[in-house]
Symmetry: C2
Subunit: 388 residues, 2 copies
C-alpha cells in the first residue's frame, strides 16, 4: 500500500496559518508576495479538467521596462506499464504531452520544457540495458524530435525536449540530452547532461557519460535559454557557466525521489537563480514507477521493484530571490509563469554579484586545486606547525 | 512605531499545522526530522534567563563513527546607543558577549562564533568615517582579540571573532576580518571578507576592500573551520574554495536586513552546505540601529536614520540537506548545535559531488570567460546565424 503523499507544502500553509502571519511566513519562505495568479484561459482549463492535470499560472514581478515571456513546465507520470512494448510506452507519452502542450499554447506559453527523459520510465535503477536502451533516439531526427518540431511550429513555441539520445555519428553511444527546437520548428541544437550521478538507484553512468556539449546557451525568439539536466543542479559551477554564457532562463529537467533529495529540491535551483541573476526552472516527474524485475539500491535493503515516489513540485525561481509555489507532489501538471527577462539585468545591477565575483582569482585557485601535488591552505597552530 | 516582527517561521508552523502534516511539511522544508533537541544545562539556562537571551540547543544526526563537536553561534543587538563614546559602546558589547560565552561554555560549546563586526553598530550605511573607523582594532593584539583569548583559554574553546580590523603594518588600512583564536588562547590567524557589497545601504567598499587572505582553513582542536563573511555567501565559488581547502565547518557571520535579503537567507548557506559537504553556519545580528545623522539609501526615498530590522534567524545547515530551526528574528540568542564531522566525508562518499565536479573543465572555462575578447557560447538559429 502506497503511503498517502502530502499534496503540497504551500496548500498546507494556506490552509492552516492565519492570514496576517501567513503573509509574513510566505514572504520569508518564498519571497515578496508580488506574485500574481493569472486567470486560466477557458479552453486550457477545459483540457486540464478533461485530461486530469493541474494547471497553475502566475505572473512574476515586472521591472519598469518589461520584456515579458511565458514559460511552461510539464511534469507527468508515465502512462503505459513499464513492461508494455517500447513503442506503446513512447506513443502514449507523445499523445499525453501533445495535449498538455495544447493547453500550454492556449495559455500563451512561449517556451515549453518537459521533464528529463520524458519519453520513458526512469529505468536506470535496474541496470538492465534491454529494453531501456531501445528508448534512445537521434536528437536531430528521431520521432520525438519530429513530434516536438510539429508542436513548435503549430504553437509558435520554443520546445525543450529532454530525451535519451543515441548518437549514431559517434559509435552509437547514449547521452542524456535536451533538444532545443525553435518556434520556427528548426532544431537549434542540443545540450547534454554535464554531471552524472552514481548515487543509490541512480546508476546512470552505466548508461551514459558526462556530457561534452559544455554550457551552450540558445538565443531563441523569446530569450536566451540554457539546460542544466538533473544532477547538474548539485553543481554550482555548472549553473554558473550558463549564466556566464548569457542565459536568462535555465531549465533543470529532473527525475528525483523524496527520501533522497526532497529537502534539497527547493534550495538548489533557487540558489542558482539568486547567484546567477537568471530564472531557474525545476521540473521533476511524478508518481511511482514499477519494474518487472527486482533490483537493489545499494542500501542494504531487500531487492524490490520500485524505488519510491517522484515528488513533482516543479517551480520557477526568480533572480530577485522569490519563487512560485510548486506544482502538486502527486499529480501531472503544467506550470505557466510569465516572467520579465529585464529583471535579470536589473537585479544584477542592484546586487552586483557578477561585478564582485573575482573570477580571475577563482580560475587560478580552482586550477591549482586540481594539480596532483596541490597543498591545501590549512593553518595550524604556530607551536604545533612543525608537526605537519 | 516599529512594526510587529514575526518571532520565527518555525514557531508559527509548529503552532498551527496539525502533527501529521507538520512532520511532512518540516521534512520537505527543513530536512529529515532526526534533529534532536538537547536539554539545556541548568546554569546556562539561568544565565540566558537573567540576561534575557534565547538559548536553543540541538544535536544533528550521527554517523556510524561519530566525531562530534559542539558549535555555538551568537546573535545580538548593540547595547549602547550609537552616539555613546566608542569605548562605551565596545565595552558594553564585550561584557554582554562574555556572559553569553559563559553560557556557551556551560553548554559544552567547542567552537564559538560571533556576528560580523560584533563590537560595533553596522554603521557603514552612514558613509561617515568618524567615529566608525575608531572601532577598528589590530587583529593580532587589539583589546577585542585579547578578550577573546581570555575567553578561549578560560573556556577551552575556539573563538571566531569578526571585527573591523586596522592593519598598521600595511598603511593602517581597514579590513572586515575574522580573527581565529585557538582553544589554547593563541591567535591562529585571520580571514578577511572576500567580496564587498555595493548595495543600497551596504556601502562597505567606502571603508574596506576585497580581502587578500584567500580561503584559509584553520585546523583547530575541534575540526577544520573556514570563515566566509557576510556578502561572500552570495558567491558560490567563495563557499567552494573553503571546501576545497578541507573545511568541515564554515561560518558566515553577517549583518543583513529583511527587505533586502530575508528570502535568500535560508537558501544560500544551506545550498553551500549541500554543495560542499560541510556544515554551514549563518549568523545575523538582531534589531534596528539608529544613527544621529540622517543618510540616504539610493532608493529614491527620503533621508532617514535607520535602515531596517536585522532579522537574526541564525541557523546551521548540514551536508545532508537538513538544517536547524533559526534563532529568533527579534531577540539576542545563542544557538548550540552538536554536529558529527564524520558526516562530511560520509555524505561526500554518498553523493559524490566532488568526484563528479569536473573542476579541470571549469577552471579553464572560467579563465577563458575573464578574457577581454571572450565569446560567449551562444547558439543562434542556423538560418539567421550570418546575422550575428
Amino acid at each position: 500500500a502506497e503511503k498517502m503523499e502530502l499534496e503540497s507544502v504551500e496548500d498546507t500553509l494556506n490552509k492552516y496559518i492565519p492570514p496576517a502571519e501567513l503573509t509574513e511566513v510566505k514572504r520569508i519562505l518564498y519571497g515578496p508576495e508580488f506574485l500574481r495568479t493569472l486567470q486560466i484561459e477557458k479552453q486550457a482549463g477545459d483540457i486540464a479538467n478533461n485530461e486530469d492535470f493541474e494547471l497553475a499560472a502566475y505572473e512574476m514581478p515586472l521591472s519598469q521596462n518589461p520584456r515579458q515571456v511565458k514559460i511552461g513546465l510539464i511534469q507527468n507520470k508515465i502512462i503505459s506499464p513499464t513492461d508494455a512494448p517500447v513503442s506503446t510506452q513512447i506513443h502514449s507519452l507523445h499523445e499525453r504531452i501533445s495535449k498538455i502542450a495544447e493547453a500550454a499554447a492556449l495559455s500563451g506559453v512561449n517556451i515549453l520544457c518537459m521533464q528529463e527523459a520524458w519519453t520513458m520510465p526512469f529505468a536506470f535503477c535496474t541496470r538492465e540495458k534491454i529494453p531501456w536502451t531501445d528508448f534512445a533516439e537521434s536528437a536531430e531526427n528521431g520521432a520525438t524530435t519530429k513530434l516536438c518540431q510539429e508542436l513548435a511550429r503549430k504553437h509558435n513555441m520554443v520546445v525543450v525536449s529532454p530525451i535519451l539520445e543515441r548518437d549514431e555519428t559517434h559509435g552509437g553511444v547514449l547521452w542524456n540530452t535536451a533538444v532545443v527546437i525553435s518556434n520556427t520548428g528548426a532544431v537549434m541544437g542540443k545540450s547534454r547532461k554535464n554531471h552524472i550521478p552514481r548515487v543509490g538507484d541512480f546508476n546512470e553512468s552505466t548508461y551514459y557519460m558526462e556530457g561534452n556539449t559544455g554550457h551552450k546557451v540558445f538565443q531563441t525568439s523569446f530569450g536566451r535559454i540554457g539546460i542544466n539536466i538533473c544532477y547538474g543542479r548539485h553543481h554550482p559551477l555548472n549553473w554558473m557557466m550558463y549564466g556566464i554564457n548569457g542565459a536568462e532562463i535555465v531549465f533543470n529537467p529532473s527525475a528525483t525521489v523524496g527520501a533522497l533529495s526532497e529537502p534539497m529540491w527547493p534550495i538548489e535551483a533557487r540558489c542558482a537563480a539568486i547567484a546567477n541573476h537568471y530564472y531557474a526552472c525545476g521540473i521533476n516527474r511524478v508518481g511511482t514507477e514499477t519494474f518487472s524485475n527486482e533490483f537493489t539500491s545499494g542500501d542494504g535493503k531487500k531487492a524490490h521493484k520500485d524505488f519510491g515516489h517522484f515528488y513533482g513540485s516543479s517551480y520557477i525561481a526568480s533572480p530577485d530571490g522569490s519563487r512560485t509555489p510548486g506544482l502538486s507532489r502527486t499529480k501531472d501538471g503544467l506550470l505557466v509563469v510569465a516572467v520579465d527577462l529585464n529583471i535579470c539585468q536589473e537585479i544584477s545591477d542592484k546586487w552586483c554579484f557578477r561585478m564582485t565575483a573575482r573570477h580571475e582569482l577563482y580560475a587560478d585557485a580552482i586550477k591549482q586545486s586540481t594539480e596532483l601535488d596541490y597543498k591545501r591552505d590549512i593553518v595550524y597552530e604556530n607551536s604545533l606547525s612543525f608537526l605537519h
